[in-house]
Every structure is written in structure tokens, then in C-alpha cells.
């Protein structure tokens, strides 16, 4: 059987979506409460890594294909740069040219909100890719070692 035991798989199916929602909350409210794009992105990546550990890499890549992860990784970095360049229209790189909105509301603080989201996509997908690369590397020997330990 691929992946871990049935108990782990069931709990993973139940929990993974909630972890993603919590990560999205940490990202979206990063400018209001503790957290931010980096921490939220890592939490979202952890949900996908949990799926990969429990179900194996096919299931994880079915939910987030490798090409899509690459695109999100590069796209997040590109979005970060583009938002930075938008500030040039006001005079300086990374100048906060967006409307600041109403204080303590979700849509406030100008470019900090989109920058948080860009960072989250970038960090989440890149850490997922790093783990996927490490997990695919010599998977065979890992499994055989575990079987040796158990026998």
C-alpha cells in the first residue's frame, strides 16, 4: 500500500483543508494580526506536504501539479517585483502608491495586502517543491530501509 496507514490517511483528508484555510487566514489578515505572507505560505505548504507524506507523491501532485507549483513560485516572485515597480509611477521603487483604505479593515494598507499574497504563493509553492524534490530523491532506498527496520 502506498503511503502511510489508513488512520493517517483519513485524518489527513479531514485536516488538510482546514490547514489550508488557516494558512489563508494568516496570509489575508497579515497586515492586521500577527502572521503574514511568509508564515501563512509555509502553513499552506505544510498541508500539501502532509498529503504527500500520508498518500504519496501522486496524490499530492494531483492536488497541486508540479508545473502549477513552478508557475506559482515564479508568478509570486514576478508579482512581488511588478508591485514594487508600480511604485516607480509615484517616484520610488516599492513606494506605497495604492489607496490606503480604511484603517483596521481587510482592504487597507495599500500594497502590503497584495504583497502578502504574492509572498505566500511564492514561499508556499517553493517550499513544497523543495520537499517534493527531496522526497522523490532515492525514495526506493528510503522504503527499503524502513522495511529492513521492521523485519
Amino acid at each position: 500500500m502506498k503511503g502511510m496507514t489508513l488512520i493517517v490517511k483519513t485524518i489527513t483528508d479531514f485536516v488538510a483543508a482546514f490547514i489550508v484555510v488557516f494558512g489563508a487566514y494568516i496570509v489575508l489578515y497579515g497586515h492586521l494580526t500577527p502572521g503574514g505572507g511568509f508564515a501563512g505560505g509555509v502553513i499552506i505548504a505544510c498541508a500539501f506536504i502532509l498529503v504527500m507524506l500520508a498518500h504519496g507523491k501522486e496524490q499530492a501532485f494531483a492536488r497541486l501539479p508540479e508545473k502549477a507549483a513552478h508557475a506559482l513560485d515564479s508568478g509570486g516572485a514576478l508579482a512581488f517585483l511588478i508591485i514594487g515597480w508600480l511604485g516607480v509611477s509615484g517616484g520610488f521603487f516599492f513606494l506605497n502608491v495604492f489607496g490606503r483604505g480604511e484603517m483596521f479593515r481587510l482592504l487597507s494598507s495599500g500594497m502590503i495586502f497584495p504583497l502578502n499574497i504574492a509572498i505566500a504563493f511564492k514561499v508556499g509553492s517553493s517550499l513544497f517543491l523543495v520537499f517534493a524534490a527531496l522526497a522523490m530523491f532515492r525514495r526506493r532506498s528510503f522504503r527499503s530501509m524502513i522495511e529492513e527496520e521492521l523485519s
Binding site: V42, M111, I146
Partner: protein, 185 residues
């Protein structure tokens, strides 16, 4: 502000013990877990010092690094280190540690160095005073890392990007001769 020194000293002692165990243990898995214990204690220390942003990030990254390191450790064929340490390496590291302590005492002990936090606090005072009115971000940490110091965050994102490129280039399967990676690991 209440006195948090006892809690911090307890955590510091725990972290020092964890680090010594991580360096001295023969089993790589135990070393990885000791390093993670140090990281979790650091996260709790950040909470005590009133920095929830850093505590969250530290905790989450620590979990991820623990998972990655355990997989990396078990992947290696030899998870325990039997050979004794090179005497030359021990002597060299001791000498360099002594040099570090000596130069540190010279710099921080003399009057040539400014008071702790004096020139830095001038910058951060501006951040604290103008953070909310200038950016309208209620979380001041975010207003610093994504507005005042967005350049730093751009550099951090670049480092992550380079690390992904490096990991995928080193561990890729396609275009690699069979057995090439095994010898390197």
C-alpha cells in the same frame, strides 16, 4: 512590563543543553531532534518577549525543517557517526572560538562602539511613530517588512527562489546518469 528574565534564562539553559546534545550525539536522528527542540524553545522565547509574528514563523519553519531533515537523515544509509573527530579540527575550532571571544570583548568592551541600540533605535523610532499613519497597517511588523523594508523581503524571496533552483538542479531525476547521485550522497 513584568520581569521575564527567569523564564528566558530557563529557556536559554534548555537551548544550550539541546545544542550540546545535538553536537555530541552519535546518532544523526537524535541530533536533528535536538536541533528542533532548540528551535521550539526559541519560538517560546519569542512569545515571552512579545513577538508573536516571529514566533509563528519560527514555529512553522521549524516544523517544516524537522520533516525535511528527518527524511534527509533517514535517507542516508549511515545514520550514526562512529569515527572520532579529527584532532586538528577540534584545535582549529577552539582557536577560532577564542579569537571570536577575544575580538568580541575588544569591540564591546571598549568605548569605540556606540551604546547598545542607540543608532538603530533612531531608525526604528521613526517606524514605530509613522508605521500606522503612513501605511494604515494595524500590524506594525508587516508594515516594516513589506513597506519600509520591502527591499529586504525581495532579497529573501530571491534567496528562496535560488534555493528551489538549487534543490531541483541537484536532486532532479531527468538527465542524470544512474548511480551518479548515490555516490555524491
Amino acid at each position: 512590563m513584568e520581569n521575564i528574565a527567569p523564564q528566558l534564562y530557563t529557556l536559554l539553559v534548555f537551548m544550550v543543553i539541546g545544542s550540546v546534545v545535538a553536537v555530541e550525539t552519535k546518532n544523526l536522528l537524535s541530533a536533528v531532534i535536538s536541533v528542533s527542540a532548540v528551535g521550539f524553545a526559541l519560538s517560546v522565547a519569542f512569545l515571552f518577549m512579545g513577538a508573536p509574528d516571529i514566533a509563528i514563523t519560527q514555529l512553522v519553519v521549524e516544523i517544516l525543517v524537522l520533516i525535511i531533515l528527518i527524511r534527509g537523515t533517514i535517507l542516508l544509509d549511515n545514520t550514526s557517526v562512529e569515527t572520532h573527530r579529527d584532532t586538528l579540527a577540534v584545535v582549529t575550532s577552539l582557536i577560532f572560538f577564542g579569537l571570536l571571544l577575544g575580538f568580541g570583548a575588544m569591540i564591546f568592551g571598549s568605548k569605540g562602539f556606540p551604546e547598545f541600540g542607540e543608532p538603530l533605535m533612531r531608525v526604528s523610532r521613526v517606524y514605530v511613530q509613522t508605521g500606522l499613519p503612513a501605511t494604515y497597517a494595524a500590524n506594525i511588523v508587516t508594515s516594516v517588512i513589506l513597506d519600509f523594508r520591502a527591499y529586504d523581503t525581495l532579497g529573501e524571496a530571491t534567496v528562496l527562489f535560488a534555493s528551489v533552483l538549487g534543490a531541483l538542479a541537484l536532486l532532479r531525476k531527468d538527465g542524470k546518469v544512474k548511480g551518479e547521485g548515490v555516490a555524491a550522497a
